[in-house]
């Protein structure tokens, strides 16, 4: 259980902003911070990690106060025991993949965790390579594994997948979900991608101007009208074509492409690149065993 109240005046590119948020996260939940850039999502992660100091507030993790402004408690990043995956991965260029993981070991910690993590994120063949010889997705996996070596209870992911292509992204989402469940982590993810959020998170905090504007389970937060269709996916419009009296809209859902028949009235405010929900009744799809 993480309870956090954070106040901090931030200087951003567009001027100063007051960060004023309250988070309450159950153990084992995967929670997303969502919002346009510059609303303070990364700052929240950094404050939780102790890399940035808050002006005032409290952070309580499983009953222990990491930060209590009034009682002058402020744990250093070293004391907080968290896993943190940086946007630029922050792998140490002077160490191999394996050495990066070993560096994270605590004194006297069982080394088996290294083998375990290397096999979970499928790095066996890359373990003796230096990070700068790896692809973005591979570096990301190393960063994820390294963050878990100390067996933290809390995992913080700062837009971990933003630099990756769609196919890689979906694979890494699966890795993150896998470790999240396997190690019973409480995970906080910063993400822009609605599809990713709906796929991964139990709860989403929408932020605007340093404040939480909406909280809830991801599906209901992103679908303003609650729809009864049970067959729902979020995707991105990649093509709109006119066909006789109807239109065919091509939507990319994860790495699958689906096509949907639409009416003129439905596509007037739809453009390529828009996020849409594709919904159908549970009665319509047929299942074929493969």
């Amino acid at each position: 259980m993480i309870k956090a109240t954070i106040h901090k005046a931030l200087n951003t590119a567009v001027g100063s902003m007051k960060l004023n948020v309250q988070l309450s996260i159950e153990s084992g939940q995967l929670v997303t911070l969502y919002g346009p850039s510059g609303v303070g999502k990364t700052s929240i992660l950094r404050i939780i990690a102790g890399l940035l100091s808050a002006d005032s507030g409290q952070i309580e993790v499983d009953g222990v106060f990491w930060l209590d402004h009034e009682k002058k408690i402020d744990f250093s990043p070293q004391q907080r025991k968290i896993g943190y995956v940086f946007q630029d991965y922050a792998l140490f260029p002077n160490m191999t993949v394996r050495e990066n993981l070993e560096f994270a070991l605590e004194k006297g910690q069982d080394k088996n965790i290294i083998e375990e993590l290397i096999s979970i994120v499928a790095l066996d063949e890359l373990q003796n390579r230096k990070p700068n010889t790896l692809s973005g997705g591979q570096q990301q996996r190393v960063a994820l594994a390294r963050a878990l070596v100390r067996k933290p209870k809390v995992l913080l992911l700062d837009e971990p997948l933003s630099a990756l292509d769609i196919k890689m992204r979906s694979k890494l989402q699966d890795y993150i979900l896998k470790v999240h469940r396997e190690y019973k982590l409480t995970t906080i993810l910063v993400s822009h991608d609605i599809g990713e959020i709906i796929k991964m998170s139990d709860k989403v905090y929408c932020l605007e101007d340093g404040k939480v504007t909406k909280v809830g389970d991801s599906l209901s937060v992103f679908t303003d009208n609650r729809l009864s269709g049970k067959f729902q996916f979020t995707g991105e419009v990649i093509n709109i074509e006119s066909e006789d009296v109807v239109f065919i809209v091509t939507v990319l859902i994860g790495n699958n492409v689906v096509r949907v028949i639409a009416q003129e009235s439905e596509i007037v405010d739809l453009a390529i690149g828009d996020k849409v929900i594709v919904a159908s009744k549970a009665f319509n799809p047929v299942l074929l065993k493969v």
Binding site: A49, L51, N94, R150
Partner: protein, 224 residues
């Protein structure tokens, strides 16, 4: 035939100076790279002063400070029995101050050039600042360290003004190559002066070439 003592002395001075510089420059450069202190610009300015100041100015003030006729110099002599003036230790101190920017500069810019996230990643992995400095930061600025080491060494080899002011011209004690050259010219021994000069020229050329080869990645490519 030339006297080898100045060459040995120069090499010894440059080596000792470089080692002392490395030890004091790492913490100083670290502080300059990461501190947000208000006195940082002043410290930065002081460190860079030897770049623009005539070496004789520095030498003159050090001579004044170390002179047993002054309170600091006499205190040193009375309490520690150290006489810095016209001695090898005095030369080392002078050279360290004189070459400080050549060591601090590259290390500081190397550290500032590293992404902050490397340091932060090490902290969230539970590692102390010291461990982070030695295991993460320094190994990733090896080219800067090498540049600093070599520039400081080469610069010490080539100094003249500071050495002459503090050290004077005592054979086997403070008479380094640059002073020996001056001496030989004064005595009209042009062939000896030429020998010393040529030696210095070749040594510094080789050292600098070595840095450019390594830092330019030429050696690595050549070995592959």
């Amino acid at each position: 035939m030339i006297d080898w003592a100045p060459i040995i002395l120069t090499t010894k001075l440059a080596l000792v100076t470089t080692i002392v510089l490395l030890i004091i420059s790492i913490p100083l450069a670290y502080w300059l790279a990461y501190s947000k202190s208000r006195i940082k610009p002043i410290v930065e300015t002081l460190v860079s002063m030897p770049l623009v100041l005539p070496p004789t100015v520095l030498g003159f003030y050090l001579l004044m400070a170390f002179s047993p006729g002054n309170s600091f110099g006499s205190w040193l002599q009375d309490v520690f029995g150290i006489r810095l003036i016209f001695s090898f230790s005095g030369l080392v101190i002078g050279s360290v101050i004189y070459s400080l920017p050549f060591m601090v500069g590259p290390i500081q810019s190397g550290l500032s050039g590293l992404p902050n996230s490397l340091q932060e990643a090490s902290y969230v992995l539970g590692k102390s600042k010291l461990k982070t400095l030695f295991s993460v930061l320094l190994p990733n600025i090896k080219p800067s360290l090498l540049t600093g080491l070599v520039l400081a060494f080469a610069h010490t080899v080539g100094e003249f003004g500071v050495v002459l002011m503090i050290g004077g011209n005592i054979p086997e004690k403070t008479k380094v190559v640059s002073i020996a050259i001056y001496d030989e010219v004064e005595a009209l021994n042009y062939s000896n002066a030429n020998m010393y000069s040529l030696l210095l020229f070749i040594i510094t050329f080789i050292i600098l070439l070595f840095v450019y080869l390594i830092n330019g990645g030429y050696l690595k490519r050549f070995w592959k």
